[in-house]
Structure formats: structure tokens, C-alpha cells
Amino acid sequence: MAAVQGGMGDADIKTDIKTEPSADGFGNNNANDGRVLSASPGSTPVTPEDQQTLLAVLQFLKKNKLTESVEILRREAGLPENSLDPKANESAGAGSGGAAGIVDLEGGDASSLLSRVTGSSSAGAQAPTKGTVQSGSGRDQPDVSVVLSAYSQQGDPTLYKVYYRDLKKFIETVLDCHRAELSQVFYPLFVHMYLELVYNNHESEAKAFFEKFSGDQECYYEEDLRILSGLTKKEHMRGNETLLDFRTSKFVLRISRDSYQLLKRHLQERQNNQIWNIIQEHLYIDIFDGMPRSKSQIDAMSGSLAGEAKREANKTKVYYGLLKEPEIELPLDDEDEEAENEEGKPKKKKPKKDSVGSKSKKQDPNAPSQNRIPLPELKDSDKLDKIMYMKEATKRIRLGPDNLPSVCFYTFLNAYQGLTAVDLTDDSSLIAGGFADSTVRVWSVTPKKLRKVKSAADLNLIDKESDDVLERIMDEKTASESKIMYGHSGPVYGISFSPDRNYLLSSSEDGTVRLWSLLTFTCLVAYKGHNYPVWDTQFSPYGYYFVSGGHDRVARLWATDHYQPLRIFSGHLADITCTRFHPNSNYVATGSSDRTIRLWDVLSGNCVRIFTGHKGPIHSLAFSPNGKFLASGATDGRVLLWDIGHGLMVGELKGHTDTIYSLRFSRDGEILASGSMDNTVRLWDAMKAFDDLETDDFTAATGHIHLQDNSQELLLGTYTTKSTPVIHLHFTRRNLLLAAGVSQL
């Protein structure tokens, strides 16, 4: 899979968005069209393989009469015009397909057309159906029948059991050190053999095969096996996503050379072609030199839908460092005094200037260059906010094992509609909830009420030169504690505040992501692109960009002033369940139902890290504040910690008994808080978890990790709620922990 996928990915990233800024005039002051992300295609040389792919894509486009796209792609890829069928030009005049497509909302095949055509930009990137996206090949439309036909090879159905048992017997008798590694083969083999039987209409044999050997599989595959066991007819295989995943992606196994030789020799001796064929066709065996891994090492990394990540997949360099903070003129002293006096404290001179100044001057060697991706310029209000942030930061409580944070719980009462998502602003002044009844509600958690901007007529009357113009534009009559925003037509699954608190994003089951203004409390844009439920969305820490991911298995990167995505991150084999921006905004992490986490480079659109090890769909992600680490929580109740730079799993935190829906690092990264469906918040000693690491070169090179089971030592506290699943966590700027949920009483 990954081989094909890689090629495809390259094709994707050549997509440059050249949208005219006319259509979306909602006046985002962050907008800076000139600086919109543009990956320069010239920087990466086009390899012959890529060219092959590109040609295939062009063929496909032409076949679908997408002449404009053809033109653009050819220009971008720098391909000679004659590389295409000369007929392409003839149809170009008649086409104007792109324009037509945009209007074609009600068209018969709207769903596919929309995604295909409205993108005046690129090609296979916005592949019409889920199937094609993750099948990853633009060369032909991988019809299900084509995909499945690989199973048409016929063996004697009655012998399957014998083959499997034979192999099982062999693996059970090999030396202990090889047994654990070779046992990895069981699961993919089992599945493929079962599917072959089903495909070739040997229903009873398939059932018997399943009955006999399904019990041997690792328990973390239970969910998949349940789906598989329901599938007993060739007809069922049509449109079954799990199955397509299995066929189109090669299951990746990491096996030491010795073990592999052993297996190979055995299969050749026995003339066991059936099994050998499956291994050749459907499995990708990543062979390494050295000691075979132990059972626990393997178990730590396995569990994903498509096996482990290939070692090469995590070799790319990731700039995980933080961007340099912009220099901000510090507030005048009298302002400082005012603030102090308000709180009724004696004023003190703080040696703040130096510390802040020196901090921001250092440049992290692992940080990306400041302008690696264009970021919006700071507005005056942003600077003010930064100043507030620094002030608060000086009052921050230093947390540690002996100094645990206080917890405040925001309980949603009377939420009969069903609360599905929560977010708090960075300064903890607003809380927003997404509900199953399609509404988005915003509350002010400070005494300051929510107010709308005055109507246009009233705005004309105010004195625009006055100092307090920002105050004057607000309509006092609309002040209230909460506001409800209507617009979605399905449950709101993801919600995110912009860092400047002027906007709110929400993603919904209806397939749209909506941008709301918190000045007018109206919807500004509905971003359409995902045609299936969008499970999560998040603003970049610098604003302007946001990412969304959903059931269509792709994550999309958007800019608020573009109605088309800037990047499409495709590669997950199942729904994308959660999305998070790296603190430096250059990377995006996505967690998926395929039980993997991927890290994507915003600049290139490439997948730069694949983390496997979770045994259930991932529902929460959190980057450490220093950008070095990632924490992930899943339905299996475990939190896994990852070293982004080395691409390694570095910790496992066991304790929760149900899905972890929220993770958050404290502001200084000393403590990791996890909130779960099991009605608890747990605090973990993140400092200790990361400090104890010794990442030697060998581990980094091979990716073999030794995890110590020290969850109990790292667990600093378990705080139970009263029958309230914790669905959101947030550390205030002073390190007070806020949690939110709906009481189930």
C-alpha cells in the first residue's frame, strides 16, 4: 500500500490552490492571499515513477472531461503538452467543465462531481469516492471487483485448514525467540485465507475455518474478527470497507532476518504455495537485521488495522521545535499598576522583561524556519492578548508530583439534546458546546456577558475615531450569558475556538465545517468537502488555518478565507476521529479508527510519522507544549506517549477503564491530564515519563522499544466525578485544570 500511497501523496502535494479571493469576502483580517501556502513544485524533482503516476492521473482527468484540471496539473507538473493525447486540447474549448461543475450542486452524481470538479485545482487528490481515495491509485478506478479478483486464485478449499494448521504447528515448534515474531503472521494470513474462501463461494468451509482458528488470534483483533465473521458471502464483500482495506493495503510485519528465513525455508520445503502466495501478495514484510523482538515488544506496536508502520515511514526529519515568539513591546508600567490595583494587591516590580526577552531570542535548532509556512501577522489585539498571556504566565503555578492542580468541573445541566463536543478558549473566558440537536451554544464563563455587534445602520452612527470604538460597536441590548447558533443539520462532533476568540469552528454529521463569528453570532462560511460526517476540527494555534477529518478517511487543511481545502491528507484506512495541530503549526496529527496515528507535514502534505500500538479507535490527541511529544488516548483506555523526533513510542499509561475522550498537558508540560468515559480525570507525571527516556541510537534506528510498565508510578491522582464522563480538559494560563462533561444522573 505504502508504495503506491507514496506516489499518490506526491501527486497530491503538487496541488496548489490558486483560488480567486473573490468568492469568500467575509473579511478575515488574517487573510493574506499573497502568502497562502504554496508548495513550490520545482523544489522537488519529479522522479520517473512520479511522472508515470501523473500521466495516469491526467489520463483519468481527460477521460472525465476535466480539461481545466488537466491544464493546471500539466502546468504545475511541468510536463510537456505532447505528453498527453492531442485530443485533450480539442475538448478544452468546449469544456469549461470546472465552472459548470461548481454550479452542478443538484446534479445526479452530485457527491462525486462536487468534490471532483469544484476543486479547480487538482486531480486525484479529491478522489470521488472513499474507495478510490484509500485504494490510492489514480491509474484506474479500482472497482471492487478488480480489487477482489486477486482472490480468484483457486486452491482446494478443504486444504486451507490443513495449510493453516501445518503452519501453526511449525511456528509452535520453532525456537522461542522466533515464535513471537512468526506468530505475527497468523492474523493477516487467517484473514486473507478466510476471505479467499468466502470469495470463492466456499461458505461452509469458510465458516468452519473461522470457527476453528479465530480463537487463536490476538484479543485486540476481536473487533475486526466480529465484522469478519458476519461476512459469509461473496456478495457481502462488495462495498465492505474493512475488506477493501485488507486487500488494498499490505499488512506490514516487522520480522528479523533469521525468523524470516526460517519461515521461508519451511514454506518452500512444504511446497505450501497457497500460503506463500498470500504472503507475497498481501503482506509486506519489513526485514531487519539483529535480534528478534520479544512478544511484549511486538504486542506494544501491533494492533492497527494494517500492521505496524514501516521503518522508513518514520525516518523523515520532523521539525518539532517551537517557533520563535515575536518580540512584543512590554506593557508600560502604569498599565501594570492598574492591573495590580484592580486585584487589590500591592504592586511589585517584576524582573519580567529580561526573562521574557531572553526566552524569545533563542532559536530552537529543531524548529522549522519561521516562514516555513506563511502565518498571519499579529494584529494589535493579538499583541494585547500576548501581553495578557505573559502576565498570567508569571502567576502560573508550577505543577509537579507534590503540587497537583486544582480541578474545576464544568457540568452541563439539562443537556437533553446530547452534548457531543466542548471547547474552551485559551484564556478560559468562553466555553462552547456542540450538541446532537445540531446546535452550537456558547457561554461566557466570566461575568462579562456575550454581546452582538450593532446593526449596520447603528454602526453608521457611532464615532469611529473614538478610542473605545471597539466597545461602542457592541449592542448592550443583546447581552446574555449564552448564545445559540443554528445552522448545522446533524450532530456537531467537533468544535474549536480561534486563538483570537473571534471565530468558532464546528464540524458536523452533515459533512460541513462551519465558521461562526463570535461578534455577530452568525455563520460566516460552510466549508463543504467532506461528504460524510466530519468527526473533528481544530484551529491552528496561530489561527487562519484549520484542519478537519471525518468518515471519508481524509483530513483536510483549510484556510478560513478559502472555501476549498489547501491540503488533503489521505492515507488512513478508516475514519479520522481526531485532529490536532502541532504547536508550531507546521504539522498536523490525526488519529483514526484504523488504530494508527499519523503526523502530516502541512507544507508538503506528506505523512511523516505513523504510530501504531493502540488497540482501539483513537479518540484524543495532545501535543506537549514543547512540541517534542504526542499523547494519544483510545477506546482501549490506554494513553500512549510518542517521541515525535525519533518516531518512537515512549510510554504507556494504563489505568482508565473506558474510552479516553480528552487529553491535555499542563501549560509547562509537567503533567498530563486524561479524561475518560469512566467518569475519572487522571493526572500523570509527564516530566518523569519523558525524563527517564534514554533514546540510544540503536533504538532510534531499529524502532525496537522496551517499555517499562510504570503506569502506577506515573499516576499522580485519580479524580472521580459524579457519573459524569469527562469529555474535555483544559489548563488555564495559571495551570488550573478545567474539566467538562454532562451529568448522566
Binding site: V407, C408, T411, N414, G418, A436, D575, Y719
Partner: protein, 639 residues
Amino acid sequence: MADREERRFAEVSRESVRLMAEGAGVELGDDVAALLAEDVCYRLREATQSSSQFMRHAKRRKLTVEDFNRALRWSNVEAICGYGAQDALPFRSVKEGELFFVEDRDVNLVELALATNIPKGCAETMVRVNVSYLDGKGNLEPQGTVPTAVQSLSDDLLKYYQQITRAILGEDPHLMKVALLDLQSNSKIAALLPYFVYVISGVKSVSHDLEQLNRLMHMVKSLVQNPYLYLGSYVRSLVSSVMYCILEPLAASINPLNDHWTLRDYAALLLSHIFWTHGDLVSGLYHQILLSLQKVLSDPVRPLCSHYGAVVGLHALGWKAVERVLFPHLPAYWANLQAVLDDYSVSNAQVKADGHKVYGAILVAVERLLKMKALSLSQSAEGQSGAHPGSVVGAVSYRVNSPGLSPPPEPLSEAALGIASHLQVGGAGCHWEEWTPVPLPAMYCELYSFFGDSLAVRFSTGTGFGTHSPCTPSQLSDSRKEPPGPASNLDTTRKMPQLTANLNISPRQDGSPRTDPPPPSLSGPGSVRSLPRASSMQRSRSSSSCSRQRSAGLSREVFPKARFTSPQTTPPAFSFLIGGRQMGQRCQGRRPFQTMFATTPPVSAIPPRTYAHKLPVIGRVGKPVRRWTCSHYSLHLPL
């Protein structure tokens, strides 16, 4: 994984498919139906699996119809409408056709449209914050404590709660009655139960106010009697509140004018009622209650009113509790009580009065113990002779109304009592295993040694009272002529409330005994101890060992009714008599307002077979006059 073999998917049978096809007017062949059925199953499974995704993302544990509909929409199938309600749908079967269907009641639109109680919209969604943990330590304000959680109740419930508590604890007795009545019958207050229990647990803070305590106890009663409430673990909390009223030296008891005795009696009745109706909700509750009562009783430091509470509590829990706890403890306790009673100093007057209350309570308890024990012995001797008419009714009423209360004292209902006492044994049997009961005669001797003639239960032999019990109206007049005539008996009933063991707690007048202090017993138990003891021993021995005729000398004139009997006419039978004592002018102690009824001797000289063949006769004769005897005895026997 091990249970994979057992796991089976729900399946739609081909018959169902064919039926549905017929419903749509299509005839299906067997093979088509089979194929369709299998495919339907598969599609259902697929839709279920994808619907669970929606559930996960909505952060719920419960899969809803909406989730399933969304999954159907994914697969381009029409959503199913009409099942979005949160309530479970009643799934019913028709026996004849093996058909199952979801009940779909008609909705009367006219009624709905004209209904005046238009439901208000649900409360506004809001966010409330509370500090759960400070510095990672301690739960400052546990999320959802009563005050905050009350806000999450619907407006109507909240209003109801406020009105009810205000009415019950307020001044207006009429309003209180209405409120209590509603609390007793309202079917929609389950959500408020914790709050009411919380209010009731406030007894500790109003121990100075008898009136409030009484009202809270009435509230308990109403809650306990509400058939729609499942008390669950709240029973424990209720019981502890009730026990508080029974046992604690309430602040209100300091003033002798305060009638805290009534409260204790009432609470004791309530306790037994809770135990008998809801005792099964909390395991080991009976044992715990007994233990705490015992603890109080054996603590000499506690004031006499606490001891009184313990005694009436035991009494209310039934004679077995008395036998188990009070009786073994009596010798030790007696010494203390005696000291109090013998102190005639003025300063001791109040304590002495209290002592007499305790004395009276103990007396009533042991008298019933004796009576019931004798009854149960006779019953067991008689064997489980089976179906008596009316026994079932008797047993039921016994269980429901007044467990531990003496049944109507007529031979007829003996069977009922027998069954009931077995129930009792069955219910609490496990607690009694390690304990060996004292035989009745020994018990009687011991008790007699304490109480002397005050003990109004008499055992005698050969009284023919068995023949009298199913008596005719004419005999009523006979009995009315007896010295303590019916009028005075009636009076006694009111005056000697210690004997009211009626556990029917609803009417206060019945349930709560009057608390006129018993007139001082002029015959100190110690003074008459020696002689009567001998005679009683003799009597008891005679009653238990053989049915020897009671000598005339032993027949006491304080039992005038015995005079009317003609012992010789009937075969000798074991009988005993229960009487209250009425302190009068006479110095020799108690003159019982007599009631006697006969039972069969535990060990009769007459061979059992004779007895066995006699029994049905009693039953048959008794039937027509049963009603009358009931009323007769209920007048005269204030048990």
C-alpha cells in the same frame, strides 16, 4: 475470544421474510426467502456496526434509534421513523400466532389538544462550575451535592418538593395530612426520593422539637407506604433516622412534660413496618437493628428513655427479637432497674417514673413473648396439619399488616399464625442458628421470678376455654358481666397502651400508645416473688408435663372468668390467658382485664392422634362465628 463459539448473531428467519413479503403482496420461494433472510441479517449487522460509530462520537454508551437511522442513511436506506422516543417500547406477544409486536397505543388527539396541563419545555441548558479538587486534594464540594442537584430537577418536581416539605413541616395540620397522603400515593416522585430521605435525615438537627420529629416520622411512613417507590439502599438511611428517634436521648426528653414516649412508640412501630415490608432490600438489616438495640440496652450509662426505646423497638420487631435479645439480657438489666424503682427519694421521682415506663414496656414485651412462644410451640407440636380454612388469608394479613402482632386469638387463626411464624423463621432464620432457645417453662419461671403476679399471662390446665372461644353472642353478655366490664375494658384499652401491639401504624390513636405513666405498682415484684413463683412453677410444670387437673387452690380469683368455665365438660386442654393489668384499689397487684383463650398443650397427655382428629371440628365450628369473635376480642384484647 474464548466465547466466540457461543456468540451467535441475531437472525431473521426465512419465515419472517416470507411473511413480510406476503404482507407486501409478493410470493417468495423457499430459496429466495433464505437468501433474502441471510442478506437482511448481514445488512443489519453492517448498519449496527456503523451506527456504533455515531454512538462513540456522541460520547454516549447507549445506542439510540437516531444512531441507527444515520447508519442507514449512509448506506442509502430510508430511515425508520417513529421510534425516536427515549422510553423503551413495550414488546408484546400474541400467544396464539407466536406473533410479536410493538404496542402502539391510540393517542386521543382531542384530549391531548384540550388538556390543560400543557407540559412546559424542558429547562434551559446551562453550564455550572464547581471546584472539585483543590490542589489535587480533597473533594471540596462534591459535584452534585443536594443543593446543586436540586437545580437540575425539573421545575415542577422542584416546586412539588418545596410545597410538600413546607406543608409537612409547616403549621397547618390539615395541609400536612394532605401532603402526607399525596406522598403516600404519588407515583411520580421517585426522582425526589433522595431529597426526601435527605430531609428526613435532618432528625438529628431537630431533636429538641418533638412536633417536627413526629412530622418527619410521618413522612417516613408515607414514603414507606408509597407503592410506587423503590427505596433501595435508602432503606438504610431511613432506618437510621427512625432508630435515632427510638433510641437517642432526645433533647426534647429533658422536659418531662414532653411526650417523647409516644414518639418512641410510633417510631418503633415504624421500624418494624419498614423492616417487614422493605427489610429484604438491605441484607443483614435485621441483624444490624438487633445489634444496635442490644447495644443500647446493655449500656447502663444510657438514660432510661433510651432503654425504653430499645425495649419497644424489640417488641415491635416481634417476639423472636424479644426472646433473642431482651430475655437473655433481662437478669443483668433487672438489677439496675430495680435500684431505680426502689429509690423513693424525691429527687429520684422523675427517674423512677421513667423506670416504670421501662418496666411496663418490658412487661408487655415478655408477656407477648410468652404467649407467642406458647402458641408457636403448640403449633409445632400440632404439626403442619395443613389447610385450614382462612389460613391463607390469615397468613397474608399477618404478613402485610402486623407482623409480629398477635393474630386474632381464636383457634381458627392458629394455622395462620403457624404459617406466619414459619415465615418469620424463614426470614430471619439464619440469625438464630447459633442460639439455643430457652424452653417455655423455664422462661416462664424466670420471668415470673422478676415480675411476679404482674405477669399477666397465665398457664393453666384443663380450662375448657376452647369451647368458649367460638362462642355465641349470648356468651358475650356473659363476659360483659364480669367485674372488669366491657366499658372498663374499653377504658383499659386506652389507658394501658403498653399492651397495644397493634402494628397498624396509620391511625395515630391506635398506633401510638398513650403515655399516662402506669400507676405505681404497689406490690413490688420482689415482695411477691417467692410464693407465686412456686405456684407458677407448679403450674407451668403441670401445663407442660401433663394435663393434670389444676387444683382449685391454685386457681386464682384474679381470673374470675375461669369460674365460668366448666373444666370437666371438655377434654383437658392447655390454655393460657392474657390480661392487661389495671392498677386499682386493690393492693395485691394486677387485676387483669381478662381475656382467655385456649390453645392446645404443647405436650398433651392426650395422644396426638386424638388431638389431630379434634382439630377440624374446631375449625368447622369456628367458621360461622369468626367475625364475631374477632370483633369481640379486638374489643377486649388490646394486643
